[in-house]
Amino acid sequence: MANEQAIQAELQEKFPYFSEKINVSGDRRIWAEVEPANFFEAFDYIVKKMDFPVLCIITGLDSGDNLELIYHLSRRDGTMLNLKTFIPKANPVHKTVMVDYFPGAELYERELVDLLGMRIEGLPEGNRYPLPDDWPEGQYPLRKDWTADILDKLDKQPEEK
């Protein structure tokens, strides 16, 4: 666990706001939390200076008043740093990591847009993913208050014209 603790210590020293917000849960697993305003400063440092060249996934969650994003970063040796940030639902905007960091993040970010109603600034125009083109607007299935019967109420369109 020495390796994980070294990463923890380095981040705490570099960015004071990590002092209480970072913990090691076991071998190769580090969890950290950061304010949206400081997110890119920390993200840039972790990816470029601390050698975390892999973005495994981005998890999006509905946690009440906020949408919680977890960026699961990894080193080539398997050490994972899970960086969380909370975006208020009232204004769910976050910048893309696809353009400057991880081109492979495209589908993860499109999922956040489709399933949770995030707005990802800087995400290039493209096909939506994963919902169908005729999906009703403003319906975000992974939000906790969303249930499948909402669709049936909306779904009163005739089958054939």
């Binding site: 849960s25 076991g26 996934i57 080539r76 081109p103 589908l107 096909n127 969303w146």
Partner: protein, 410 residues
């Protein structure tokens, strides 16, 4: 380049190359591919949302159905998260058995891929051979678990079934036979000049691009990326079993074929090692129905690349969130890069060479007959009557014809 000469061809969603839906819009200049646009999501079934409404036990069966091929991979990956949150220590024998089923799954997946790839380049003899041999491993899985696919072998806390001495012997015998056959396929793949010529320099992607996009699994390893979750982030019994990570530097479809066949040989070694060194003891520990609040992430080297699952528990018997990433989700993004400048005829084999799985990628389409929870099951007679009525309504009536036929039978 004259833009007037660019022809756009939609391949899909129903597909000449794949058995699953995905739409590749290909821009061609003559025979050369200049651009490729992906539209995915046709297999989106809402599994992540559905998982939140089900208990952990139900979710084992739900997640097993994400993919018919890597079913054991997805459940193991999810269960590892849950065990981590609940602090469960899986007994050694349970972990070793999981590992063996995982490797048997890899064998059947890679043999299936070999057949599909051979078919895409018109080498159907190899398809027939490899799929015949795949039956050997399917029979083993059926004998061990009761099912050819969706084995339902995992429990939270260990494995569901133990293995008998007789099964051990059968598996060892089958592995010998499969190893012999795989050696022959390696010989075919490396010496059959038509096949080598057809696969070489097709779908090229450099190590730099692989690392930039984040490609995983055999597709990445065929470009020289030494990355394998079994080594990098060991789970189950992989830190106790000797095996090699197979890489290759061809960076093309040929390399991907070599890597998968090399991995088959490694899997046979792992299976033998497990059977010869299987620890004694229980195969599972009892898991609580309610999982304490917490979160965990787990990685699993599925046959197609790395699965990543994230689970958040909230103290109840249902998860707060389950997140699934299958390897195809990143590997697909590398396909446009691989195909640029290649011929139209290379599209099918290049897509097949990442061994894509859209069920896995899209996981989460609404069942078309979903009717507010009152899903209707029609009997055969009702279905028949429905079709007769539907055709009649649309101006096709067989009543007269049926009468004439009926008279003739008399």
């Amino acid at each position: 380049m004259n833009p007037d000469k660019i022809v756009k061809i939609p391949m899909g969603p129903q597909h000449p190359a794949l058995k699953e839906p995905a739409c590749f819009t290909i821009s061609l200049n003559g025979e050369k591919l200049v651009d490729l646009d992906l539209r995915l999501g046709y297999n989106h079934r809402g599994i992540e949302k559905a998982a939140e409404e089900r208990t952990y036990i139900q979710n084992i069966y739900l997640l097993e159905r994400i993919c018919g091929i890597c079913s054991h991979s997805h459940t193991t990956c999810m269960i590892q998260c849950v065990e981590q949150i609940a602090g469960l220590e899986v007994p050694a024998r349970g972990r070793w058995l999981r590992t063996m089923v995982g490797e048997l799954e890899r064998v059947h997946s890679h043999l299936l891929w070999l057949g599909v790839a051979a078919h895409e380049v018109g080498f159907d003899t190899l398809l027939m051979y490899s799929w015949r041999d795949r039956e050997i491993v399917m029979d083993l899985l059926a004998a061990m678990t009761g099912n050819r696919v969706n084995y339902s072998f995992n429990l939270i806390g260990g494995a569901k079934l133990d293995i008998t001495e007789e099964q051990k012997k059968d598996i060892l015998k089958a592995v010998d036979a499969l190893e012999e056959r795989t050696k022959y396929y390696i010989e075919v793949a490396t010496e059959e000049t038509t096949l080598v010529a057809r696969l070489s320099n097709v779908g090229y992607i450099s190590l730099d691009d692989v690392m930039r996009i984040g490609v995983v699994g055999p597709t990445g390893r065929a470009s020289g990326l030494d990355s394998d979750a079994r080594k990098d982030d060991p789970y189950a019994a992989y830190d106790e079993i000797p095996f090699k990570v197979i890489t290759d530097t061809h960076c093309d479809v040929y390399g991907r074929a070599l890597v998968r066949m090399g991995e088959l040989m490694e899997s046979y070694k792992i299976i033998r090692y497990v059977l010869q060194n299987l620890p004694d003891g229980p195969i599972a520990v009892k898991a609580p129905r309610k999982i304490p609040a917490g979160e965990a992430i787990s990685r699993y080297e599925a046959p197609r690349g790395e699965d990543v699952h994230y689970v958040r528990a909230n103290g109840t018997d249902k998860p707060e969130r389950m997140r699934v990433r299958a390897p195809t989700m990143v590997n697909l993004l590398a396909v446009p890069k691989m195909l640029k400048g290649d011929n139209l005829a290379d599209v099918a084999i290049t897509i097949a060479a990442i061994d894509p799985c859209f069920s896995c990628t899209d996981r989460a389409i609404r069942v078309s007959d979903y009717d507010g929870g009152n899903a209707k099951v029609m009997t055969w007679e009702e279905t028949r009557q429905f079709s007769i009525d539907w055709y009649r309504k649309n101006g096709v009536d067989f009543t007269e014809l049926n009468k004439r036929f009926a008279n003739r039978i008399k």
